[in-house]
Symmetry: D2
Subunit: 424 residues, 4 copies
């Protein structure tokens, strides 16, 4: 009633009523009054949830929560350690398929390497002329000036470490891309703070410089871009594994030759024909997104984070074993901040042994999580590619107009069984 | 125990124990035994959830669910109707900001148009030579042959309607992109079925044709690609709205000029510099992803679905009002199938009046949902752009080394207040 | 003198003095007076050239001509006919290398197929709202309306045949891409005329439509673009050839395995890493540009025309023969109009048997020229790839600090000899 | 006869007969015997040309030369100096139009800045595993190791100066992009030499490293790529100029508002819709190509060299003046080597005062030429954009079915007059 009469702002309900859940309940009531079908919300759960960590941090105008089913794939052997991969998804067969990939990798395991680590933020500024803009480029490139900027930047956080600044000029506009390590945080807030600090320092030297925006899209956050593919963002990780011809046959139900053939025609030629930049894989995004939702990452960051090139090659003496690598240059990920602080999401990080800040080495948890994501993508790629490679062989023997089973495999119309059972 | 001794396959627990929740509970036990920190799962909820709709459809090896906080933005006026937008997210300030955008649009409302509707699937096939491959291209282009293929395709489902086939040749490889309406379903399964049927028909005419894979990445699903940007995928939607200079000042705390200026430098020049294809916007992916998770879409499909170009122009007699449009050519979305069948997700569709299949016009619900997504993106774009445009003005007056508030605005280091309160 | 005193406009000299060469001579005099080094022009030839075909057609403010050295590669066997390929270039070893490629193909020959033929022009128009813009999209998509537009379009030229119109919306902006056959002309002028005619027809139905420009860059002419790669422009051609393992060894000095290996790592993976759209080849542009200059094409159109994907595969029973294909979707080319009318350029078309309009089948000459270009690219690709593949083997045996020969091979620091002699 | 009987290899004719022209003549004879139409070559000139500089350097199997008409545009005021721009082209109206642009710039002049200078070469190498590949990345990033590599690199030429090495990993493949200043040479040969030297040094540390190719397409040479757009290649140049509203009206026959409007809809929105990376301009390639052919550059390098973003903004107190900038990040150009050594081409460099190596500052000539190219592009852009902007206004008043004049304007169907006469 007090809300209706505007005595309490709706967004502040939780504070007003002290008990967050009661606040949520009242907001649902108000919302129901405004909906055509008042009973719509009945199936949207809201009870028994600790809203204290959500409020003021993760969500506003809260009306409950969406339960996203979570399953587990694995164990996945990464650098000689076993991991059970939590995946939150509503896509049937995704976990079963990834799980099959894990089984294929079981013996040899995945090797991972972190190639670089640096979150980015690129403000756009404007000068009165290209002359001034190019002066600024020169100034920024100077080693001493960079050192001064780094001092400013690094002072804004205990974990922020400015690594590099790259400049991109467009007439009198300048995009200044700051690259920094950000400890175990995904780092967008941290780097924004440091960047803003540097901008003010820069403005002292170039008073005519206008700061148009803290983000000028050259960062690039949550949009497809060549720059993240080429110059990385967040963690750049590479993984590889070798699968014996026996396992290819017994677990993946196909041959090394068929897989390599398909990898070239689909993941190389196909993606090239489609005009893809960064999408040289079968379905990295599926695995990335499921782990991101499970572990409280920003799910919208799967756009750059799913950039991946999958390479398959013949291996071993007679070339019948399979070598697979996945290269993922821009995994934006963290183990502190954002959704990682919520209880369930935190539990999933715990499952992987990477919850919160690393005790000894800042950043080590986030880096390890990035490696796990990439290794899981390897498992996912192997399994779907195998399903596709064997698919037509199997299917061509079936009468076509049989009724499809209700179950689908990754949207591909394959029955779930063909991607391997969930059994270990 | 029976699982440990392999008498019951782990993936089949639910069936074996009859009660799905008990199955989940046992699986958690088994998993806990394998984890280093056995207590990891304590905070991962699993009780009081109806697993019957999950099993065999949305998830395997289930161990519970991830609660993603959900809030509401709006009302958002779209084509003269009010909508309350459910957004599931863990990104602080996203809903508050979108809500502010809704308020800015309140008076004039958003107009939407659906430009096209067609899910796609592009298998890769191979011929012995370019001669045969080009014969196939010619054959497919023939009107009568297309009609025959359409007959096959459309027979596979009551809702599937083949619209177009485009061919992309690469040497002796051929990528055949099927485009079809799929009713209220997002449509990947439906179109895969129809595509497979056509492939078999095609194979009868071209027995030398090898089907390498039902998906050759020219579809393109869940990977960045120019083809979806240029030739659409799923729903292609455009929205526009006009905001008076008064509202720009009072609600958005900035000016039309500053917004247009920023839109050019960031969303046009910036994205062009970054080498983006399809990412000419500020943060469409944030809104798309939050609605996708809330309404049970395939969250990994936000990659193409977030393709968006935001255009801002001066409007009105003196050019001080603001015209904004968002163009989104590839929203992959549905109101039946996949995660949409789960109770909470279904409730969110209900909130928007688009749950399940449309009673009279197949596809009308999915189309309407796509329009709502695009309109919500308009709200999100306006608000973030305004926050960025006014940001530096405001911030430059602040002493720099003040302590940052814990709250962030969309990862931009702005305090949440600056993007507008949640109050209506 | 009369020019100096402005009695005769400098650009009209030729007309004023009747004799074009004298006009050119006078212009050179005037120019020399303005140059710091008056003797600069001495080595720029201008005598003994028939300017009558240049004036008012190909060049203005003429001061002479640039002699570009021309050599010949071949014979190149294309679809069982021998061609001698004229190449105008200043890049050392390019012709020698292409010639070696021709020799490698000598026995089996190249097979070519023309997949499609259609020049494009895409004006940008603007409507007062997305509502009107989407109405226009609907109107254009209507079969009857298309027929009416086609009637208008085709009336503007005897050779123009409108094939298709595709629309690309961006808010209230609309890009309308007209695709038409244009006989033996490259066709830009012809299609511009037809397009303009259609725009006026369209404007009668949509009086509020503003025509912003006859070209809105979605054409796309002389700029990199995904649309030409995906939807073709001009001629779309595919070529293939098979080379026996013996020839790979004897002529190309390498192995099938090494070539395929390199093709994947360089032309597939490398170009994908570089963020290329359409550049999945080694040096198609070299061959395209040299033939374009020789045959009077618009050399700036090599940008789209050089789009090419080179695929190499093992062939034959033991997989030791080499299968190569080149796919070139956007060769913008003609045998009439532009520079093709000049005597020397015309002679080169004559060498290939494709000078001027085809006598019986309009367009047949231009199409044949496109096939020859693509076949020549095959020769060029094979030879450079072989040079690169064998390069490191050979070079690693050399002492490094030897003095390099002055001659380079395609800018790769290889000595010219290694790419094969010019000898036949 | 000796050739026919294979006593003298055809490619060696010039040496054998001592007199190069006689060699060319004999080769033409042989060729004529092989052609269907023996008289084809009659109009292809070959006399009175000094072949001594061509042989062994620029062309093989020479049969004469192609005269490309050359005209002059200008004077163009760049950084307060006047230049007459030599343009070799067969495209009608191109020079007239560029000339009009020069006139529009006459008063204010163009300002230019060189942002960076560095030719690139990126070999592809392969390791037995990602572990070794990432070790190599780490090794190369080390400051001391870079210094050692630089020592090797710089020793291979007096002018080569290694600036930077960037690494791009793809599984066990590594693309190592060397960036170096190369004096006044375009630099491909120079950098290839240095790169090869470094590779051998690297191989000593990583004996398991396989050198697959000196070029792995990440360079990227003569192919569209995001990497050259983002990380530059050759010279990166920015130019700007301001044109008063009076000149916009009197010379360009349009308004500042119309130009800015068109620049956004065509060069920004249009190119973004087309999926262009680097093609945010109207026709930079036309100007680049014409100057490249005139000055003996490698014309196939216009692909990256034409990358350009044109920005137009309102200027002056009332915003009615026009501000234009062109940003060209990858101009691959030189004043020594390749075709620059030929007499006519050399004369054109002389016209611009940048022939050969700069006497005092190595590289200064090539840099200056790059600035002139970019400034000329500004002139070209202004003029064509003006023609397009005014086009529809003018044309809509014409009766449509009038006969077109034979003359075209840049393929746009505009009569040549509309782009401004050649008169100064």
């Amino acid at each position: 009633m007090l809300v209706d009469t505007k005595h309490i702002p709706a967004y502040n309900l939780e504070k007003a009523v002290k008990n967050p859940e009661r606040g949520v309940k009242i907001r649902r009531k108000i919302l129901e009054n405004n909906l055509k079908k008042r009973e719509s919300l009945i199936n949207l759960p809201y009870r028994n949830y600790d809203y204290s960590k959500v409020l003021g941090a993760c969500c506003e105008n809260v009306i409950g929560y969406i339960p996203v089913p979570i399953g587990v794939a694995g164990p996945l052997l990464v650098d000689d350690k076993k991991y059970y991969i939590p995946m939150a998804t509503t896509e049937g067969c995704l976990i079963a398929s990834t799980n099959r990939g894990c089984r294929a990798i079981e013996k040899s395991g995945v090797k991972s390497r972190l190639i670089s680590d640096g979150m980015t933020r690129a403000p756009v500024v404007r000068f009165p002329s290209i002359v001034k803009a190019s002066d600024a480029v020169t100034w920024i490139k100077d080693t001493d000036n960079f050192a001064a900027l780094k001092l400013s930047f690094d002072s804004t956080s205990r974990f922020a470490k400015l690594q590099k600044i790259s400049t991109h000029i467009a007439g009198r506009y300048l995009f200044i891309r700051f690259v920094a390590e950000t400890g175990d945080a995904m780092g967008m807030n941290m780097i924004s703070k440091g960047t803003e600090c540097c901008l003010h320092a820069l403005q002292r030297h170039f008073p005519e410089m206008e700061i148009l925006s803290l983000s000028g899209n050259v960062c690039t956050d949550k949009k497809p871009s060549a720059i993240n593919w080429l110059q990385n963002r967040g963690k750049s990780v590479v993984c590889e594994c070798i699968i014996s011809s026996e396992v290819v046959a017994s677990v993946l139900k196909t041959t090394t030759k068929a897989l390599i053939d398909l990898n070239i025609s689909k993941n190389m030629v196909g993606s090239a024909i489609a005009g893809s930049i960064g999408g040289f894989n079968a379905h990295a995004a599926n695995i990335v997104t499921a782990i991101f939702i499970a572990t409280g990452q920003d799910a919208a960051q799967n756009i750059s984070s799913s950039n991946c090139m999958t390479i398959m090659e013949p291996w071993g003496q007679n070339g019948e074993d399979l070598y697979v690598s996945c290269t993922m240059p821009s995994i934006e990920i963290g183990t502190i901040g954002g959704g990682t602080i919520l209880p369930a999401q935190s539990a999933c990080l715990d499952m992987l042994g990477v919850r919160g800040p690393h005790e000894d080495i800042p950043g080590a948890n986030a880096k390890q999580l990035a490696r796990i994501v990439c290794a899981s993508v390897v498992a996912g790629e192997i399994s779907l590619m195998a399903a596709l490679a064997s698919g037509h062989l199997v299917k061509s023997h079936l009468k076509y107009n049989r009724s499809y089973s209700g179950k689908s495999a990754l949207g591909l119309g394959l029955s779930c069984g063909s991607v391997g059972s969930c059994d270990r």
